[in-house]
Subunit: 388 residues, 3 copies
């Protein structure tokens, strides 16, 4: 049996029922649904590799709302919806009248008359991004129930203040393939660590998403950061509970070294402390430009105390056999390349550069899989038809 | 016989011949063509509801030119062209070289080599928007006749200084369905009234389009506005002539109350006096920023004299049975929601909110119907094939 | 045999092997490949004229990167990829994170996971544009070889600092059709001359591309410009070598009159001296705004010395029979129309206006032909199937 049929058989056994459900946080999904997501993504990727069509829609719109900059997620979303046969329309909140006092509820319906999916990136404001996605979802749900919309578009989180499910699911698929299976991840150690960056205000969604997801697979997850660079407490609690339930471990380490010790995977990446993100959200809401400048200055000064949090060759030597898999959501701040001093040394990055590209390469298929699973009632059967 | 076949039969009887004709003003269309437009839109909407494909093109471009902001018309156009199988390309006049002295004639041809339709919004300048659309139409007509273009793209008015046909046709379809048929509209009273808004300079296209279209169906059309808020005189004359020809009535009422009295439908909406729009057009042409600021100030002060022109519960009580259908093209200025004091009270809007969403929901199908009717020679037969 | 089958037969005889090769400079292509390009474009244009589908892809992305303004190339590219069945995604370097220090190598891969073609305009910096295209090409080549990308997208030059192949190939197809065949061009004289424009800094790509391409077909190519308005010396050398190899002639004439004398074709068009472009590139790199302003002023003053370099009725009388074919890539600076004094008189332009539109009309089909030839392994067979 070839790989695709093998995946399909595994998928059918999982009996995942994801029709008409949004994808907003990985921890709202069952383990079977996450497993199914990876399998669907793998099937779609394999179809693409074999130059077979992924088309599952004849027409229909996919709408994206980017409230923050994006290159790779933007193109991953564009790629995914194109491959499935949808047309892309971006809601540009500058061009549109949304800035003129329209309610989210109304706009969500106005853009959705022929929409199958709405992808949203909203990661700037702590406490706001995921909430906004739920408001959009509630609005189209009401519209569908009340006969305004012929269909209920799915809402997909393309990065919020809490989680970044398209990224972390791609990351999970990457390590599934690297180590051979999800089962093989059991007992593997991952170091999700803060790293120095000359910028400030980077979202928390990746480290939070990683510890929220990977603790479900029996892994040893070590989170490390300098004093004061805490993540949202709720997500820490979630990671702890996940690891207990899955038979793994979750630890907060005090240093990069401690986390790297015998790690099978390292994920060194900068982020801003959640307390800073809370202050920043307040300042942004009040449009306090002086306050924002002062905060940025304060944070950069504080960041600079931790310039030694860099993933370099010496630290990599402490990982299992000196050969841990280096991961990054890209773009990385590479010392001597994209900045004077950053998250990772030039040598380490270059060694794993193509691996990080492959890691990113799963994202379009993860997004396509999310769309297929939420918009096609019996997606297992649909995939069986496409493969046959 | 099901609804679609019923509509199709009615459509075939009308023998509408709209191939290769632009859609620039509703009053350039015969009553049979307007009726046919609604029927085609209903068939397309029904197909979509039944998850059947509306695809009528294998490929081809739809081009949009938005010379003013838009969310819902932009997405309605995007939805319509996608459903029909066309690709959307927006002509962004900032990005493009059109600002560098290119003539309309040349640009119209340059963007049209593989274009099936050009949708244009140009509502800022009185005397300019509809004229511009005709220049584009003349240019592609010449290009087609002279062998520059293989096909003649249709020009569709997505709102101009005079009319807003995609909106008013959607409005007409909304009330056709609300009252059961076009015949049922005969004798029904609609109050198209000015309403207060804290902004200024809103286009005249909706009130003008409404009185220009609904006077053709034997309705009693009452137009009401404060002294000085006149519409373009030509359109008033047209509405008067229409109502005489159709056996309806057209009146200019002195107050919102008078217009609302026993009305079956109310359409309270702000607009700027056409004299103000003329002055504004001159100032914009001369790039007279101080003049524009002074005019805005003058108008807002004048507007504020009419803050009591609000559609509230008390005024709604005077309508037929207290239950007139409230209509709006959205977004409405809702008192206490989107502004302190606006066109409609919170309670009235909320009661009819979902109705206004459904009203807007006809627009993508109206636009798709316009494209089908102007680009497909025997569109009746084509629809029959799709339905079968 | 009809025209399409005639073209197809000629195409098959050429045995052009262009699969997976970028289109960056016309002089990197063999004469047979250029001939094949024209034939494929003609077949695609004929299919479109006959309302037959050009679709060769079921899905896939076409990516455009415009580092300079564009209307006609933008729409030509959009038209071409739509006709072939691809979806268009523009990489907007302002919106994206590319400005934040990402390397070209990484971004090129990140946008290419499902991409079939990348079209790039980068004509502002001398020594940079074509180089950038090659960097993108090298990056996706590496990505493909290393298993990052399932397919290797083709890179197509939509205008660079050196050449403008989609324009000049369209120009060549225009004159092929005007004179009846490529063979008929032998011995024909074309005057590629500088012309006055009130702007400055226009790219060199068109005159360079024209002399680099047309010297290969046995034509007499006369290049004329005022003292100091030199093109890149390498391209001059190339044109000279080409003309010797093809049995044509290449001359640098001292005046518009000399070049126009008995010309069969005239192509009067403004450009900036390459030495100015070099200075400008340095100033732009250093972000020297004062220097740029000073250079612009100096150049406009210098330009103004050559206001008499205008293609007018008198000069046209000196061409062969007074009836040379006037060509332009558009938009032209037309005296008394788009500027007070420009490249061409109103009368001459108006006489040839529709011809220049038709010239531009070849471009979408040239671009589509480039994509087909580089992305479809046996494109001759594929076209045979589509035609049949």
């Amino acid at each position: 049996m070839d790989l695709m049929h093998h995946h399909l058989q595994a998928l059918q056994k999982l009996k995942a029922n994801t029709y008409n459900k949004d994808f907003l946080l990985t921890w709202e999904k069952t383990a079977a649904e996450i497993e199914a997501l990876l399998l669907v993504a793998e099937i779609l990727s394999e179809l693409h590799q074999q130059k077979k069509s992924l088309r599952t829609f004849d027409s229909g719109l996919a709408i994206s709302i980017f409230r923050d900059n994006s290159t790779r997620t933007r193109f991953s979303f564009a790629s995914a919806v194109n491959a499935l046969g949808l047309g892309l329309s971006e809601l540009d909140e500058v061009k549109s009248q949304i800035a003129h006092g329209e309610t989210v509820r109304e706009t969500a319906n106005m853009i959705s008359f022929l929409a199958e999916v709405i992808g949203i990136r909203d990661d700037m404001f702590l406490g706001e991004g995921n909430k906004y996605m739920r408001e959009v979802a509630a609005a189209v749900q009401e519209g569908f129930e009340q006969g305004v919309l012929h269909q209920r578009p799915a809402v997909i989180n393309l990065q919020c203040d809490i989680d970044h499910p398209t990224q972390t699911a791609a990351d999970l698929l990457h390590i599934k393939n690297h180590f051979g299976s999800l089962e093989a991840l059991r007992g593997k150690k991952i170091a999700m660590t803060w790293a120095y960056s000359p910028s400030y205000g980077k979202p928390l969604s990746v480290p939070q998403g990683i510890i929220g997801l990977l603790t479900r697979f029996g892994m040893e997850v070590d989170l490390a950061y300098p004093e004061g660079y805490e993540l949202i407490p709720d997500v820490i609690d979630l990671a702890r509970a996940n690891s207990q339930a899955s038979g793994g471990q979750f630890r907060i380490a005090a240093s990069m070294e401690e986390a790297f010790e015998n790690a099978d995977i390292v994920y060194p990446k900068s982020w801003a402390p959640y307390q800073v993100m809370e202050r920043r959200t307040e300042l942004l809401k009040n449009n306090d430009r002086d306050g924002l400048k002062a905060l940025e200055k304060e944070c950069l000064v504080n960041n600079a105390r931790f310039k030694n949090w860099e993933c370099d060759e010496t630290r990599m030597k402490c990982t299992r056999g000196g050969e841990a898999l280096y991961m990054h959501c890209l773009p990385a701040d590479i010392s001597g390349v994209s900045c004077a001093q950053g998250e990772v040394s030039k040598g380490v990055f270059e060694k794993y550069r193509l691996q990080t590209y492959r890691e990113a390469g799963y994202k379009p298929f993860i997004i396509a899989a999310m769309i297929v699973m939420t918009r096609i009632r019996n997606f297992q059967e649909k995939l069986a038809q496409i493969i046959a």
